[in-house]
Symmetry: C2
Subunit: 429 residues, 2 copies
């Protein structure tokens, strides 16, 4: 079996699988030191800023604005070896990984593979619904929405046209709420101008939520405001309802009702994206890897899991921490601190989550924000949402482009990126 | 057979195939009148600004900056019916088209299908070389270049690594010159920062030109300057040389020499992209449709061809006009004028080409410009190139984004869009 092409530096090698919020934050910290050889493996050559995927899907932002090439991020960090590859199997006992580029041995392994969409075992939904866990999927959704409006124009049958133009969003968390809001804005401001031949009042946007309110993790105030905002924008909200089945044309609920829609956007759940080859006994709830308070994987001193793929069970968090960026980044920083001190150090820091608050935006100029001490909503909340996200975006160039896009969109009620760009198939394969 | 879903307005219907420079300019003019029902057919939902494709390929611009959704362009023109569809066959005798959306009849047909890459019958080159006639192909080229640098990192064999990093550009026209210049800049400023593990001096960029100078259509001064600029940037130029064969790894010249390269960028020729179903007797040179001085297709009063796909042979232009944007736009305007006057009018304007000059840019801050009365090159020429292209770009938003990108690139020697975004496959098909 061939070996991955990496120099042997005589230093302990830390291999990080995945360059999401957790893996990237850790790699940035460690690659500034000379203590370890840092190897970052990812199947893409870029870090993705997940909180804005829905804006790519809704033609509000380009992928390049919210996605950052690793090599550019690490231009100034010398001690990093980036390899774009798929990890096919991990072997914790023998301390090596199998990848599409060859075998890679490690001294320390950090599993930071994030989360996948959870269809709760429903294979029909998995094959027919559209999820948004990668920027490619977000682009695909954009194409599907625009494609279907075009097809609706060429459809004389009323019912078939409904299938093309109606959209069902499943899941009332931040993603579902943000998608439904953006779709409602598109119907209001873009569709009538772009498709004068379509009757936009025929376009139905459904938001289906299993629980009894939206934004379950946030305050009651935020839930209620989000509901009010969306209802005012004409989104049809179904609470206490679960999607049971989908055949590509009709969505079936657990209350027996059916909605016609060619597009079901699935934002109803995630599960850990644990790599293949982990022993069964290290797995915790939700396909996540069970870790102790130092993010060490049960039974392996030199194997760690951080971020969405890790579950650190405690009294306060009986099912592990929420799968959000803040936890991922804080765990990465804590692990970097501990690795820096060295494995044998008795004074390692246990991880402690500091909740900085949460927020969701609804449409072009409204949001709900829960800070530890304040809760507010509306236009001012939207400005806070905007600033916080802009601040988190990597790179000055991207900040400028995104800010310009948002201001433009705000002033002219218009997303400008309504392109159906079909990929060219690789002729060389 | 089903009919395409279009209202019958009781007006004569003008069907335009293709929304490139020619088709778009004509549709914009006619859709402002109430005289005809204007139908625009295109396989994409956007107009593409071809002169900047190479910047998309070189990660300097996003597709969305140089590509414009038709529906947005026509938001204020009421008398237009846009259908995104492939025209599979034309029937001039019976006055209808077959499309992927159904049959479409016409009173007037305007063929504005543009040009395709010409591989001069070499099927191996056609299947293995990369062309740049669509924005999808430009994106594909971007992915291929970045992919191959990643692969080079994992290749220990010297010769195989050369294949991954060397690039051969075939064709010394504006596209070839601009691509070679951009690649040389990328090697100089981006590669050393992004791939410190690669030896950038090993990267060879070849420009192969069949004629005895570059930029054949331009002045001698421009040809020489372009040659000098590129040579100084380290591009290896082969004049009087033709590419005979390519097996995916080695490029074979007619002088017997061979260059190892996984990527051959083909900018060596175009041919008319005439639609299927035209009678043989209307075809002219280079797979183009022969037209008279009113752009009417030989033998059909109500069928026209404009732009790259048309060839209007005259003493001054024995092989038809050059296949450039200026000709396309001027022919469209002339045809719009004649259609407005009505078919029977004796005072129709014959087409007369007014050459406004030509230019090509080389790298980040140099260009060559031939105006009818002035010829100049260097930094000032680059600024003229920049302004002229910016002026031609549709939409204020795009102008701002492109200008910002170019200024950024100029100041920081950096293209920022080095993302390998792989398309998600459609699960619904």
């Amino acid at each position: 079996m061939i070996k991955i092409n990496l120099p042997e530096l005589g230093k302990e090698r830390v291999v990080i699988i995945g360059g999401g919020f957790a893996g990237l934050a850790l790699a940035l910290k460690l690659s500034k030191l000379n203590q370890y050889q840092v190897v970052l493996l990812d199947r893409n050559n870029y870090h993705q800023f997940q909180p804005l995927f829905y804006q790519v899907a809704m033609a509000g932002l380009e992928p390049s604005s919210i996605v950052f090439p690793f090599r550019k991020i690490f231009q100034k960090n010398k001690n990093i070896y980036i390899r774009i590859t798929e990890v096919t199997k991990v072997n914790l006992e023998k301390k090596f990984l199998e990848t599409s580029l060859g075998v890679c041995n490690f001294d320390h392994l950090v599993i930071a593979t994030g989360a996948d969409t959870n269809y709760f075992g429903n294979q029909k939904l998995e094959s027919l619904a559209i999820s948004m866990k990668t920027v490619s999927e977000a682009l695909f959704l954009r194409n599907a929405i625009l494609d279907d409006y075009e097809k609706a124009l060429s459809t004389t049958d009323y019912e078939e046209r409904q299938e093309f133009i109606d959209i069902v969003v499943v899941g009332g968390g931040p993603t579902g709420v943000e998608v439904a809001g953006a779709l409602a804005e598109m119907r209001e401001y873009v569709l009538p101008k772009d498709y004068p031949e379509l009757d936009c009042r025929e376009v139905d946007i459904w938001l289906v939520q299993g629980a009894d309110s939206l934004l379950k993790g946030m305050s009651e105030n935020a839930s209620q405001k989000a509901y009010d905002f969306l209802e005012k924008m004409g989104v049809k909200i179904k609470l206490n309802t679960r999607v049971m089945n989908y055949d590509g044309g009709w969505v079936e609920m657990d209350d027996g009702s059916k909605i016609p829609a060619k597009k079901v956007i699935w934002a109803a759940g995630v599960k850990g994206a644990a790599p293949f080859g982990l022993p069964q006994e290290v797995m915790g709830n939700g396909n996540r890897v069970a870790v102790n308070e130092f993010n060490q994987v049960k039974g392996y001193e030199n194997v760690y899991a951080i971020g969405d793929v890790a579950t650190m069970v405690s009294e306060e968090f009986p099912y592990g921490h929420p799968q959000v960026a803040q936890v991922a980044i804080q765990q990465a920083k804590n692990l970097a601190f501990n690795l820096k001190k060295g494995l044998k150090n008795k004074n390692k820091h246990p991880f402690k989550y500091r909740d900085l608050g949460s927020m969701a935006t609804i449409g072009r100029n409204k949001a709900v924000v829960d800070l530890p001490k304040f809760k507010f909503s509306g236009m001012f909340a939207w400005m806070v949402w905007l600033l916080v996200h802009l601040f988190q975006i990597l790179g000055v160039r991207n900040k400028v482009i995104i800010f310009f896009n948002w201001v433009w969109n705000y002033l002219f009620y218009d997303q400008s990126l309504r392109l159906i760009i079909r990929p060219k198939i690789n002729p060389r394969k």
